[in-house]
Amino acid sequence: MLLEIAGLKAGYGGVTVLHALDLEIGAAETVGLFGPNGHGKTTLLKTVSGLVAARGGTIRFDGVDITNRKPGHIVELGLVHVPQGNLLFPDCTVAEALSLGAWPRRARPREAANRARIETLFPRLAERRRQKIHGLSGGERQMLAIGVALMAEPRLLILDEPTLGLAPKVRGELAAAITELAGGGLPMLVVEQDLRFLGAVCPRLALIDRGQVVLEAPSATIDEAAIMSRYFGDAA
């Protein structure tokens, strides 16, 4: 197993968000996470990457216990998290952000190759190399956020709602890129509201409800309409 989460508990202040959550991701697997807002998807990702303290349970990455380790340590191991709506560093340039992405020691040797690969994947980033990040569009910023994560040579990439709030055309571009990455054998854990997109990228889906994984199944077998009406109301 690449990622093993067992009995994970976490929360903020007096509020518990994750109640003994279990989830496993296999060696070359891409898993999609979905579920209603406020039920712990983002908290789960933040706990895995070390931003939120775990109050119980364990997280193992490639056999190593990473529960409550520092984010820097976790990134160094190759578990890289792209947070939701990442604004990155408004006053830095695109090139600077990419070079900072290669901060982990194990990513340094392949920095130039990775940069070339990312600029092929997202040609727009190559065009904007010298621009400051605050001048980028939302879609470009999301591409850069993924590119920065790829510079770290991830062995597991976590994406939190990568297409949130983007125009359909840009969404399409990003979805294509993410599918390409998954096809290239990079294991991923993706959170998305758009089940169709998620099902297309991830062979297996997990449903999070009230801080627990309540359903795990191959995406082909998940009855989209039933889940949508159950968890998102009939309007969805």
Binding site: L87, W103, A152
Partner: protein, 291 residues
């Protein structure tokens, strides 16, 4: 006003501006990366001057080893000060106020530590260069000429470090988005300590500048800190050029004011300039801090 007077004012403005630029840049680096104001900054200057004096005059090993030791000692103390006085409180809602209190306490600690170690008797550092230089008819000491000449090089070096190296970019990145920086594996705590160390090293250099012009005392950092404070308010900290341009501008205002209305009223003039700037442009002349 005669030509001689103009040259005298210009020279004085350049010397003051250099001193303030080196001081203010350190304050601005800490302010922009941690969002706090470091009241112990003046004491890094004091400490640098005294360590340089100890090595250069006390032990008699010469000025250059003294400078190296002073910068190194100040950087180490700066990093420790960050760890003890500031980092435990980052993320607290009242961090701005708490940091004022803890850095003031840190200043008291260092000032009295210096007093215990070296006593209160005034000391003076050997100058960076001896003799005088004649500039457009005004004689200035070679020491001051060196200050005026090497300050731009120091500023350039810091600018290159912040703008052209990965470490410099990391320092700016962690200032702009702490969480994103953590998720990229940037060591935020060490970068904050680095910001403090860089600032303290610059302050130590300012201390070596000043220690050969005026007499050194444990309280010698107070006045330059105040001027540097006026400079960062005046210029803002959003851009590198802000405090640098403001430093030379404040140096000029001070030189003109000292010549025209005397030393005693100059602080009031600077204060009025600062208030005036804040009333018109609350974030400084060149834009403000993002935090």
């Amino acid at each position: 006003m005669s030509g001689d007077a103009l040259v005298t004012i210009a020279v004085s403005a350049l010397v003051l501006g250099s001193l303030y630029a080196v001081m203010a840049l350190g304050l601005a680096v800490v302010w922009s990366s941690l969002g706090i104001f470091n009241f112990a900054h003046g004491l890094f200057m004091t400490l640098g001057a005294y360590v340089a004096w100890q090595v250069a005059a006390g032990a008699g090993w010469g000025l250059w080893p003294g400078i190296v030791a002073a910068v190194a000692a100040a950087m180490a103390v700066g990093a420790v000060a960050c760890e003890l006085l500031v980092r435990p409180f980052l993320g607290r809602k009242d961090v701005v106020l708490v940091a004022v209190i803890t850095t003031l306490a840190g200043a008291t600690l260092i000032e009295n530590g210096v007093l215990l170690a070296w006593g209160g008797r005034p000391k003076q550092l050997p100058p960076l260069a001896t003799g005088t230089v004649n500039l457009f008819g005004a004689a200035l000491s070679a020491h001051e000429a060196v200050i005026v000449a090497i300050t731009p090089l120091i500023l350039l070096a810091v600018w290159l470090f912040l703008g052209r190296t990965r470490l410099g970019a990391a320092l700016r990145a962690v200032a702009q988005n702490h969480e994103a920086a953590l998720l990229m594996g940037l060591p935020a705590a060490r970068l904050y300590a680095l910001a403090f160390a860089l600032a303290a090293g610059l302050a130590a250099i300012a201390g070596i500048f000043l220690g050969a012009i005026r007499f050194m005392s444990p309280a010698m950092g107070g006045d330059p800190l105040l001027k540097a404070m006026v400079v960062v308010i005046f210029g803002g900290v959003a851009r590198f050029a802000g405090p640098v341009v403001a430093a030379y501008l404040i140096g000029l205002i001070e030189a003109v004011s000292t010549y025209a209305i005397g030393l005693y009223w100059t602080p009031s003039v600077l204060f009025l300039f600062m208030i005036g700037t804040l009333m018109l442009r609350p974030q400084g002349l060149f834009g403000g801090a993002r935090r």
